[in-house]
């Protein structure tokens, strides 16, 4: 069931077209990723979806409502964690959650959220004294305190150390498992690959791809590379004769082969038939990163 529908969204600031033509749908219960380089229009897109900004063109429907016209009603069922938003520096974790819970008609039990997000020892810590990871967790808790059906999480793990980032991912999966639909804005490939069911790649205000992470990866770079050091020289012509093999390079005893997804199997069989052992074997499969570079023409970070 579709619960967010964005059609030909357009947003202009003065002369600058920030969002040019963005369309996508989000289904109930999925984690939908919005991926793109910095300045691609990701945040503006989710700000329009959440009713914070008025689009200059196109239409948006969230839970069957227009975010601009039914803003108050929608915001009861919609939680958002925005990048670069902070709280009053002297407010404590418990006070912030208690305050934000009072904004909603059917708030979640915020004591339970504190437990779930591992903020128990920080209950009475002031916002200004929390670490980056703790602030992010509080921010997620605030996005969930109204028991929303949809939660938008914008650049959630930017600035977190790798461990904190992985913990946050586990947490988001837990939130999804509790039945909340999640829109995740990110520029981390690894994050999108790990969490998202589907994702839209946005570049220069346009959706340039919309697929599952693995679909995107295989689509953009249908190439597998393997590299090894053969126990004795291999006949290049034999390798090239294999239908799975595209290119072969031999360089100082190292053989590099590019081919389709079955290339590893084919090459290994050939080597086995010739009693050659492949040492230092390495296989590189296309990742979302490759797909991203292929699509946008620039690297993600």
């Amino acid at each position: 069931m579709t619960i967010i529908e964005v059609t030909n969204l357009r947003k202009v600031y003065g002369e600058k077209v920030v969002v040019d033509d963005v369309s996508f749908t989000v289904d109930r219960g999925e984690i939908f990723g919005i991926l793109g380089p910095n300045g691609a229009g990701k945040t503006t897109t989710v700000e329009c979806v959440s009713g914070l900004r008025t689009p200059d063109g196109g239409s948006i429907s969230v839970l069957g409502m227009n975010p601009r016209l039914d803003r108050k009603k929608l915001q009861q069922r919609f939680g958002i964690q925005l990048q670069e938003s902070v709280l009053q520096s002297r407010i404590t974790v418990a006070e912030a959650l208690d305050l934000y819970a009072s904004f909603y008609e059917r708030p979640a039990d915020w004591n339970e959220l504190i437990d779930r997000l591992g903020l128990n020892t920080q209950r009475n810590t002031q916002f200004g004294k929390l670490s980056g990871g703790q602030k992010q967790r509080l921010s997620i808790a605030l996005a969930l305190v109204g028991s929303p059906e949809i939660a938008v999480l914008d650049e959630l793990t930017t600035g977190l150390d790798p461990q904190a980032r992985r913990d946050t991912w586990d947490l988001i999966e837990g939130v999804r498992d509790s039945g909340v639909t999640i829109v995740l804005v990110t520029h981390f490939m690894e994050e999108a690959q790990r969490l998202c069911d589907r994702l839209a790649v946005i570049d220069a205000g346009k959706v340039i791809a919309l697929d599952t992470p693995s679909g995107l990866a295989s689509h953009a770079a249908a190439e597998t590379r393997l590299q090894f050091r053969p126990s004795r020289p291999v006949n290049e012509t034999d390798l090239l004769a294999l239908p799975e093999v595209g290119e072969v390079h031999v360089n100082r005893g190292h053989v590099t082969i590019a081919g389709n997804e079955n290339v590893v199997q084919a090459v290994m069989s050939l080597l086995a038939r010739n009693h050659i052992v492949a040492g230092e074997l390495r296989v590189d499969q296309a990742t979302l990163d490759d797909a991203f570079v292929a699509l946008t023409g620039n690297s993600a970070e």
């Binding site: 914070l52 009861q76 006070e95 305050l99 904004f103 605030l142 109204g146």
Partner: protein
């Protein structure tokens, strides 16, 4: 009062209490100033050129005005602009409760605080320096309430639009010093040339302090002064509500 406004007001009050500097600056200053002025012997002497009044008598309504100006024109816009700059208002605007509700919460805190401090200033004046108990207490209270609201409304315009803390404080200063002048901080209103006194009456501080001064002396505040105060409350208040932005 709705649940969210109650919670917001309680939270803002707690946060305000955690900033002792703002607390001291806003609340203790008028009282400290009154005590300092009252300690100067010549200020306690009756002066023929002030119609037999003492300087300290004139300064009771002036320090009240000054305290109000500090609270409403410096502290409130500074706090709101900081919230806007840091994204506190942006964060709130994603909830069903509009961020402008924060302004209301701040007013609910500032208003009784201002009244308490001002009344305290009068009491200390009376007890320590023998200044007059307001001879027209009802008029005095009306003038006090209206002056507080009018100054708040003026400060709210800055609070509604200032994008950064610096801008909030800067704009606040631009209003603050002229308002102090109108209140009579440098030249007491009784000493001002007639024309200047009439001109400065078109500001909330000018009219407000004049109305306070008159009601202390036992006169009912002039309708024109009360009218100007009400005008500021309505016009500046509506303007602030219209101009309010979360970014």
């Amino acid at each position: 009062m709705s649940k969210s406004l109650t919670k917001l007001t309680i939270t803002e009050w707690r946060l305000f209490r955690r900033e002792p500097a703002a607390m001291m600056f806003g609340l203790a200053m008028p009282i400290v100033l009154l005590v300092i002025l009252g300690s100067i012997p010549s200020f306690r002497k009756h002066q023929a050129n002030l119609g037999g009044q003492r300087v300290i008598d004139l300064y009771v309504p002036i320090v009240i005005g000054m305290g109000l100006a500090t609270l409403c024109l410096l502290l409130l816009p500074g706090a709101m602009a900081t919230y806007r700059e840091k994204g506190v208002l942006r964060r709130m605007s994603t909830t069903p409760v509009p961020p402008s509700r924060l302004l209301l919460a701040r007013m609910l805190i500032d208003f009784p605080l201002a009244l308490i401090v001002m009344i305290l200033a009068v009491l200390i004046g009376v007890v320590a320096f023998g200044t007059k108990v307001p001879h027209q207490p009802v008029g005095f209270l009306i003038a006090l309430v209206l002056t507080t609201l009018a100054t708040q409304a003026l400060g709210l315009i800055i609070a509604a639009v200032a994008r950064t803390e610096g801008m909030g404080r800067g704009l606040g200063m631009i209003l603050y010093y002229p308002m102090l002048f109108c209140a009579g901080v440098w030249v007491p209103r009784a000493d001002m040339p007639h024309v200047l006194r009439r001109i400065t009456e078109f500001t909330p501080m000018g009219s407000g302090v004049q109305a306070l001064q008159d009601s202390i002396a036992g006169h009912w505040p002039a309708a024109s002064q009360l009218g100007i105060l009400v005008g500021f409350i309505v016009v500046a208040g509506a303007l602030a509500a219209r101009l309010f932005r979360w970014e």
